[in-house]
Amino acid sequence: MTFGLAMLVVFLGVITTAAIVDGFVPPSHVQSIDPTKVSQTPPFDHPGLRKVADGAYEAYYVARIFSFTPSSIEIPAGSRVTFYVTSADVEHGFSIPVTGVNTMVTPGWVSQVAHTFKDRGTFLLVCNEYCGAGHQVMAAKVVVK
């Protein structure tokens, strides 16, 4: 019991330190958007990849049943990509398995999540929240060269 309580305090300490020192916090971007006007609202009127500096990219995604736009992006290994995602219809998920890129995509809000792609390869990007009859085909690709 005492050991258990001590472990709880240790866990909480580790999590809090990681959050403050290393910025390990779950994606919590607060920015609203009209879900009925996504295709007219910049930058989501032209979704896709933008280079902001050497090795630094921003990627704007629109999630819409049952696909992501863009459906594929290509980046050099070692790039840090900040993803901005919003939904034009229902609740979606945005997950690149095993990388730690994982966020909900809620209509009315813009989600943000960043990741540095060190390894080369083709990564699968999936919708991991049920969005309708074709949910199982909602996927895209991230190619790291």
């Binding site: 095993v98 909900m104 813009v110 996927a139």
Partner: protein, 556 residues
């Protein structure tokens, strides 16, 4: 009922008739839960086979419809009918009173009507929105009304329990509320505070589904849902704990370790079950990281009463064994009545819950959640929590309740024993496979995860086969459960010496319980205050954001 009571000639006879009336109500709850578990398990097995690509669900009744039915029937209906029945039993049996069970029956009927409405909407395909019914997926109003009636029915059952406890307090001044009735009242108080979230959400969803409002604040409905969604889990767990604390010890001649500790653990669960829901929304946009961190802390707090429970239950085992002259860990383990399904069910459930608890601490770990959120890990987690500790405890308790309520011996007790062990094995296989697939990133709630043979998806299939195998074992186990539970009533006659299912008495050397613990009205008010404190900030942030409203959609 009233006329039967009117015919009673003596006070004892009136009490006897009243008790029989209450037993019928509880039995109806238990059998309803049993039937729902059977239907839910069938859908669950189909999903497992379908996800492993062993069968293909027809387009006219697809995977997501079975998934909605499975989730709603298991998480919301089976558990709720069993728990409200259990707590009615705890109250009626420990408060001797000539009573009318009318309010209890009204509650049952309202719950049943709600369940039927929601089930019809799900089966006819107009509510394929899963058990979380996230807007702006828009189900037919029948589904939302059904869910609301299910909740309102439970409020009637709660009111019946509260009125009985109030009667007891008025007629026994200065006496402690009997422990089982206390646990019932405490849990139902928590449940009412929690279900306020569903009612608030329905206040938004129902007018919108009827077409009276054109759009919905998606973030707000999600927040209301998860305000309810986590205490829902604690509703199951508190019911399982109530069985572990008060009913299980009597199976091996044990006594409740401490009356005061039990009450304190339940009050902590009452206080801390609700202000924690944001840990289900760690990955939601529109909610600041600070609020999420705050709910991480409170969620760790709610682990403490679980530690207390683990300690108290093991102490109960050890004290009883020592009294019987048995010492040493392995000897005590062997001494316990593993051949009694009423003991073995809950005891195996406790083992599963140790792993469920570990997984829960991982899920709650803030930044660590990104690795497992919405993956099969989560599905594995709640099958080893609700499917393990809660359901297996309820099954074991059913083997005690049905004979006690019907006066008949348990039908095929060996089959019952095989049933609880196969459940344990099947659930373990399934849950381990799901956890594993989740760590590899396999998404949950997806009918087919092959993604046209994409790289990365290939590693998931083997685990889905294991999950399907485990799920099939569980479904077979459920079939055995139904045979035993219904066979007891159908095939067996009333026994000469009616079987009993007794509440254990308290350890005689335990300390006196402080009277302040019995003041449940005050503790309920504190719990509500904490819930408001934890949620006022995030809800105000949500409303102040002037979030855009989303139109409803039917994407299935």
């Amino acid at each position: 009922m009233a006329t039967a009571l009117g015919r009673a000639r003596t006070a004892d006879e009136a009490l006897e008739l009243s008790r029989a009336g209450g037993d019928l109500l509880v039995l109806t709850h238990v059998y309803t839960a049993t039937l729902v578990l059977g239907i839910g398990a069938l859908f669950g097995m189909l999903q497992g086979l379908s996800r492993a690509n062993l069968i293909v669900m027809p387009a006219s009744f697809d995977y997501y419809r079975t998934l909605t039915a499975h989730g709603v029937l298991m998480a919301l209906v089976f558990t709720t009918f069993f728990i409200t029945g259990l707590f009615t039993y705890s109250t009626y049996r420990t408060i001797p009173r000539v009573r009318s069970a009318r309010l209890g029956w009204i509650g049952y009927c309202v719950m049943l009507v709600g369940t039927l409405m929601a089930t019809v909407a799900i089966l006819d395909g107009s509510a394929t929105v899963l058990y979380t019914f996230y807007a702006p997926l828009k189900a037919s109003p029948v589904f939302y009304f059904g869910a609301t009636f299910l909740v309102l029915g439970t409020w009637c059952v709660a009111a019946d329990i509260f009125l009985n406890v109030a009667w007891f307090k008025a007629h026994n001044p200065g006496k402690r509320i009997p422990l089982p009735a206390f646990l019932a009242t405490c849990t139902m108080t928590m449940w009412i505070i929690a279900t306020l979230g569903v009612v608030a959400e329905m206040g938004l969803l129902i007018p919108w589904s009827l077409g009276w409002t054109s759009g919905i604040d998606v973030g707000l409905t999600r927040m209301f849902f998860w305000y309810f969604g986590h205490p829902l889990v604690y509703f199951w767990i508190m019911a399982a704990y109530a069985i572990w604390y008060t009913l299980v010890p009597a199976r091996f001649g044990g006594r409740i370790f401490s009356d005061g500790l039990t009450r304190l653990a339940f009050i902590m669960l009452l206080l801390l079950s609700t202000p924690v829901g944001l840990h289900h929304q760690y990955l939601d946009p529109g909610i600041s990281a600070g609020w999420k961190w705050m709910h991480t802390v409170t969620t760790y707090g709610v682990v403490i009463p679980s530690f207390m429970t683990a300690f108290a239950i093991f102490a109960t085992f050890e004290i009883a064994a020592r009294k019987a002259g048995v010492r040493g860990f392995f000897k005590i383990v062997r001494w316990l009545p593993w051949k009694d399904p009423v003991f073995a069910g809950p005891a195996l459930a406790m083992i599963l819950f140790i792993f469920g608890g570990f997984g829960g601490i991982v899920n709650n770990s803030y930044s660590m959640d990104v690795l497992v959120h919405n993956t099969m890990w989560i599905v594995g987690h709640f099958h080893i929590t609700v499917g393990g500790p809660a359901a297996l405890t309820f099954i074991g308790a059913t083997y005690g309740l049905v004979p006690a309520l019907t006066g008949r011996k348990l039908f095929a007790p060996r089959l019952a024993l095989v049933q609880v062990y196969t459940w344990f094995i099947g659930m373990s296989i399934m849950s381990v496979a799901m956890h594993w697939a989740g760590l590899l990133g396999s998404p949950r709630r997806t009918s087919d995860v092959s993604y046209f043979g994409a790289q990365g998806a290939a590693t998931w299939h083997a685990h889905m086969l294991w999950a399907a195998a485990g799920g099939t074992i569980v479904a077979i186990s459920v079939l055995m459960f139904i045979i035993v539970a219904t066979g007891t009533y159908v095939a067996n006659r009333r026994a000469d010496v009616p079987p009993t299912f007794e509440f254990a008495s308290t350890n005689e050397d335990a300390l006196e319980t402080p009277p302040v613990l019995d003041n449940l009205g005050r503790w309920g008010a504190v719990a509500l205050g904490l819930a408001v404190l934890a949620y006022a900030g995030p809800v105000i942030q949500q409303i102040n954001a002037h979030a855009y409203l989303a139109p409803g959609m039917r994407t299935w």
